[in-house]
Assembly symmetry: C2
Homo-oligomer: 323 residues x 2
C-alpha cells in the first residue's frame, strides 16, 4: 500500500490541531484516500513544549531542507504563521516539487503571485482553504461548485476576535476596553490585538477572496481599512435602535463597468440579514454570484481542530491526485 | 482547442436555467476549463415550449440513444426530474461511458447503489451537487474540504416550499391553507404540493446526505417523516412564546455506538440558532463534524439559475479531468 508522507512546518496550536485531526480520524482518512497518510518529519523550534498529543521525538528535524530534500516526502504543510520566513519556505517547498498546504493568510496574501508562480514552475499545487474562514469550506466552494458564476459581491465576517468583541458589546452593553480585556483573558484575543482589531487580518483574507472571486489581486496593504477600536456603546445602541448590528466586514464588490470597490470597515448589518445571526467568535462569508444569487457559509473561523479539518481536507484532495 | 460536448436530457425550467448559465458566463467558463463547452444535443418532448433562450432547432434529438451512442459526447446532463424514466436513462448513460451530472434528488435517492455501481462499471463519474440545496455547494463540501471529519449530525432546511409556508405563517399569523394558496399563486408551491408538504422531497435529500456523510444509505421510503399540513397558527404562536420557530427539518444523527437516528419532521428551532435566520424559500444545511464543529451552508435551494449554477459547476469539474 502506498504511503503519503508529509513534512510539517510548525507544531504550535494549529500544527498540533492538524496532527490531532489525522490521529483521531486516521481510519476514515486512510480508507477514503486509499493510502496510508503520515506526518513523518516536523520542523519546530520548541520540541519540548507541552502538547496534548504524543509525538515521537525522532520526527523532529533541525532544518527545512531535511524535509524539502527528502524525495519520499510528497506534501509539505506550513503552519508557522506570519509572512516570513513562512512565505520563503512555502516557495522553497514548491520549487522543490512538493505540494504545499497552508493556513497562512498573511504569507499567501502578501505573496500571492510569487507563490502561485512557484507552484506552477514546480508543477505542484498550493492549497490554502484554511487561510480564510478557518474550518469553513469557502475557498474551494468558490473555485469549485460555484465556478460557473461571475461573482459580484462578498461581505465577510472573517475575524473571530472582532466579531466576539462587537457581539459582546452588543449583548452586554459593555465598552470596547472592557470586552477586549475579557477576550484576552479567555484567549479570544491576543496580548497584542492590533492585527485583529485594526482589520489587518481581515484585509489579508479579503485579498485572498478577491484574487479567487474576481481574479484581481490587491496587496493587503493597499486595501483601505478601519478597525473597531473607536466604536462606543453609544454607536452600538444607536445601531440597535435602527434594528441593525455593527459588524467588522471585509467587503468587495465588482460593478458592471468592471471596476471593483473594496475595504475593511465596521458596517451596519440588518438584524434580519443572514450575517446578523453570526454571533460570538463565529465567522461567515456572504457572497453573491450572477447565477446562484446570495449564499452564505457559516462556521468556526479559527481554532486548532477546525483549521486542522481544512488543512487535512486539502491534504486528502492532494493525496487523491497522487494514486 | 478541444471541445467538451454535452447532451442534455430535459429542457424544462431547470434545463433552461442551466442552458442560460452556460450562455451568460460562457467566456469565463471556457477560459477556466481551457476548452470550448457546448450543449450539442437536447432530448425534450416539448420543443416549441416558450423559453427566454434561443435554442437552435437542430440541437433537438428524437431519442436518448442519439445522445448515448454519439462518441463525441463526453457528458450527459439529466434534468428530467422524477424517478423514472430518469434513473434508467442515467444508468444507461453511465454504462455507455458518459459522465452524468444531475439535479434529480428523487432518482438518485431511490437508486443510489444502482447508479453508483453503474458509474463504477462505466469508468465514469456521477455528480449530483444540485440535488441537495440547489445552488448551495453542500455535497461537494462534505465530500471534499470536510472529508477529514467524522460527521455526527445534520439538520437541514432542504425544502423551499415548506420553509416559505412556515415562515409566512410565522410572520403574518396566517393559516396553513391561506399561505399554501398564496404560495401556489406566486409559484412557490406546486398545484399538487404533496411531495413538498408531506416531507417526501426532504426525505430524498436526507437519504443523499446520509449516504455521503455517514456512508449509510437508507431508501427515502424508509425514512420516517411527518409533514407540515397539521401545523396551526396556535402551534406557531406557542413556539414563538418560547422564542423558537417551527421549521421542517431533515435530521440525522450518528451516535457513539455507531447507531444512526433519522427523520423528517417539523421541529422547534431557537430563534438565535443559525437555522432560525433562514427565512422565505431559502434553504440551509447545518452540519456537525468531529474536527470542524458546527457549520452552516445557506442559500437558494431551488430555481433555474441557482440550480444551473450547481449543474455547470459539476460540468466544469468534470471538464477539468478530461484535458
Amino acid at each position: 500500500m502506498k504511503e503519503i508522507k508529509i513534512g510539517l512546518l510548525g507544531l504550535g496550536n494549529i500544527g498540533t490541531g492538524t496532527y490531532k485531526v489525522l490521529e483521531m480520524n486516521r481510519d476514515q482518512i486512510e480508507a477514503s484516500v486509499g493510502t496510508k497518510v503520515n506526518i513523518v518529519k516536523i520542523l519546530e523550534k520548541y520540541i519540548d513544549r507541552e502538547r496534548d498529543i504524543d509525538v515521537p521525538r525522532e520526527k523532529f528535524v533541525a532544518k527545512a531542507e531535511d524535509i524539502f530534500d527528502d524525495p519520499e516526502i510528497d506534501i509539505v504543510i506550513e503552519l508557522l504563521g506570519g509572512v516570513e520566513p513562512a512565505a520563503s519556505l512555502i516557495e522553497q517547498a514548491l520549487r522543490s516539487g512538493k505540494h504545499v498546504v497552508t493556513a497562512n493568510k498573511a504569507a499567501v496574501a502578501a505573496n500571492y503571485h510569487r507563490l502561485m508562480d512557484a507552484a506552477k514552475e514546480g508543477g505542484v499545487q498550493l492549497r490554502f482553504e484554511a487561510s480564510v474562514g478557518g474550518g469553513i469550506p469557502v475557498l474551494t466552494a468558490l473555485t469549485g461548485c460555484l465556478q460557473a458564476n461571475k461573482f459580484t459581491r462578498v461581505l465577510g465576517i472573517v475575524n473571530g476576535t472582532t466579531n466576539y468583541i462587537l457581539d459582546k458589546m452588543t449583548t452586554e452593553g459593555l465598552s470596547y476596553d472592557e470586552v477586549l480585556k475579557d477576550a484576552q483573558e479567555k484567549g479570544f484575543a491576543e496580548a497584542d490585538p492590533t492585527a485583529d482589531v485594526e482589520g489587518i487580518d481581515a484585509a489579508n483574507k479579503l485579498s485572498i477572496l478577491m484574487a479567487l472571486m474576481f481574479d484581481h489581486y490587491v496587496h493587503p496593504d493597499d486595501i483601505p481599512r478601519k478597525g473597531i477600536t473607536e466604536i462606543t456603546p453609544e454607536d452600538i445602541e444607536e445601531a440597535r435602535g435602527n434594528k441593525t448590528l455593527i459588524k467588522l466586514i471585509a467587503y468587495a464588490e465588482k460593478f458592471e463597468d468592471g471596476s471593483i470597490k473594496y475595504e475593511v470597515r465596521p458596517m451596519y448589518i440588518k438584524e434580519t440579514h443572514p450575517l446578523g445571526g453570526v454571533h460570538k467568535e463565529y465567522n461567515a462569508v456572504f457572497v453573491e454570484g450572477n447565477a446562484v444569487g446570495n449564499l452564505m457559509f457559516y462556521g468556526p473561523g479559527a481554532g486548532p481542530l477546525p483549521t486542522g479539518s481544512a488543512v487535512m481536507g486539502d491534504v486528502m484532495e492532494l493525496a487523491k491526485t497522487m494514486l
